[in-house]
Amino acid sequence: MRIVITRTGGFAGIERRAELDTNGRPDATHVQALAHRALAASPAEAASVRGVPDGFHYEIDVDGRTVHCADPHVSHDQRELIRLVLREGA
């Protein structure tokens, strides 16, 4: 499973993008389950995806399936996945 996270916006306005492939990872099962939950947890309301001034926007792409979310309306699973892939606080 290939997971690509793109983070845009934020006070600094600096974009960040990172990719993770679960192949060969000892925690592949855990990460794949997390990614499925992150996709499912995408908020249905457009207002949540629009975000707030200076808030981060995230694009989560899992094997071609894409969801968008924005702070502060990011589910626990989405945030955990974002932190894992971007390897930075979220």
Partner: protein, 403 residues
């Protein structure tokens, strides 16, 4: 620090690097990653690097400014690139265009609002929750937590400028209590206004430090609240860049007012003191005096802000470049303030404040609309004089028509 020793070929940023370069690049990223994330998952890091080494396309794992990524997305053929660009813009508009709920017209509560702020600080305990646990109220003695004290002081400095310079009672001009959440998330590299309160991250300690450190960042965020309650500028494209610029202008004025600095004494930087030890070449996140010069670093990339319309950046990213093109109106304000001299929050600040709050500024205003209204505000406040001339000249210098 490691990234100071690695020279990065320009081509790498544009996705034309060799396999060898890519491998070196990912290795560098790996180092950054480990410093930025002291978490337990180092095995994951190794797997990630292996996966990335198999991918020839480079730019993963780096912090890339939007303009660089846009170049990546551009095709060689100009017409095709243009089409792709417009598609991207449309797509992004549909996806991310948003309007903060207009609160204009909401009646102020009866009675005169207080001339004192009502501040409350909450601690999220490094979780991404709001507001968190209440840890400090208005009358409390200083906390043992410096972050709490800085947030409290920054909210106060913001309240002070708006009240004393412009007669505004808090964010909504009706005495809105000022709430802030600190220690939001883990190593969280951001601060934002959520529509009703402030949220501050601690930074990862490498790229960014604690977001409560620069008072102009606190002022910037709270000014998003003022804009929300007044012109409610749409956070996309030029109106979004104006929204950002207004936050930078008043964020900087809050700092200047707190420090008692005149226009020629101010640094005109946004986010000075915020960059961490991982950044070797940078003084702040934005420069209003010289947009595009705040940083040029292998981790952050180069400050992409233009100073004039000639260099206006067309992009679908960052809500249409709201943090990029804000450099143009930022510099216009700097030029007005320094031409007039003295304290920037006085004449220059009053002209901008009257423009933002006067009721004429449309939520989808473009740069030229804003420029024309600053001229009208200068005339109505000060008549035909130095102020109007300074405003006209500043917009002319940045290439925005103002008449």
């Amino acid at each position: 620090m490691m990234h100071s020793t690695v020279a990065e070929p320009d081509g790498m940023r544009y996705g034309r690097s060799s396999m060898r370069d890519t491998a070196r690049h990912t290795e560098r990223c790996h180092s950054i990653v480990l410093i930025g994330a002291p978490g337990p998952d180092k095995a994951g890091g190794r797997c990630q690097i292996r996966a990335m080494s198999d991918t020839v396309k480079s730019v993963f794992c780096t912090i890339v400014p939007p303009h660089v990524l846009d170049r990546l997305a551009q095709a060689d053929d100009a017409a095709r690139a243009d089409l792709a660009q417009r598609t991207l813009e449309h797509d992004s508009l549909q996806r991310t265009r948003r309007r903060v709920t207009a609160l204009r017209g909401v009646a102020a509560p009866a009675g005169t609002p207080s001339d004192s702020p009502q501040r409350t600080i909450y601690d999220a305990g490094h979780r991404a929750t709001q507001p968190g646990k209440k840890v400090h109220s208005e009358g409390d003695a200083p906390s043992k937590d410096a972050t709490v004290n800085r947030a409290h002081a920054g909210l106060g400095a913001t309240f002070d400028l708006y009240l004393k310079a412009y007669g505004r009672h808090s964010i909504d001009d009706a005495g809105l209590p000022l709430d802030a959440t600190v220690h939001y998330g883990q190593g969280y590299n951001n601060a934002f206004w959520d529509g009703s309160q402030m949220v501050f991250g601690d930074g990862d300690g490498d790229v960014f430090l604690d977001f409560t450190i620069p008072v102009d960042v606190i002022g910037h965020e709270l000014t998003h609240g003022v804009t929300q309650h007044t012109a409610n500028l749409e956070y996309y494209g030029q109106s979004g860049a104006l929204n950002e610029s207004v936050s930078d202008v008043f964020g900087s004025l809050i700092k200047q007012y707190a420090l008692g600095q005149s226009a020629d004494q101010a640094d005109w930087l946004i986010g000075a003191g915020l960059l961490g030890p991982g950044i070797d070449h940078g003084v702040a996140l934005r420069s209003m005096k010289a947009p595009g010069t705040a940083y040029d670093d292998d981790v952050l990339g180069k400050d992409p802000q233009p100073a004039t319309m000639d260099d206006y950046v067309r992009t679908s990213r960052d809500n249409g470049g709201v943090h990029i093109n804000s450099g143009i109106p930022n510099r216009a304000f700097y030029l007005v303030a320094t031409a007039l001299g003295g304290n920037a929050w006085e004449r220059a600040g009053k002209v901008w404040y009257a423009t933002l709050t006067g009721g004429e500024l449309a939520s989808d205003a473009q740069f030229a609309d804003f420029a024309r209204l600053t001229v009208a505000s200068a005339k109505s406040l000060y008549g035909e004089g130095d102020e109007v001339q300074a405003v006209l000249k500043a917009w002319s210098q940045v290439g925005v028509p103002a008449s």
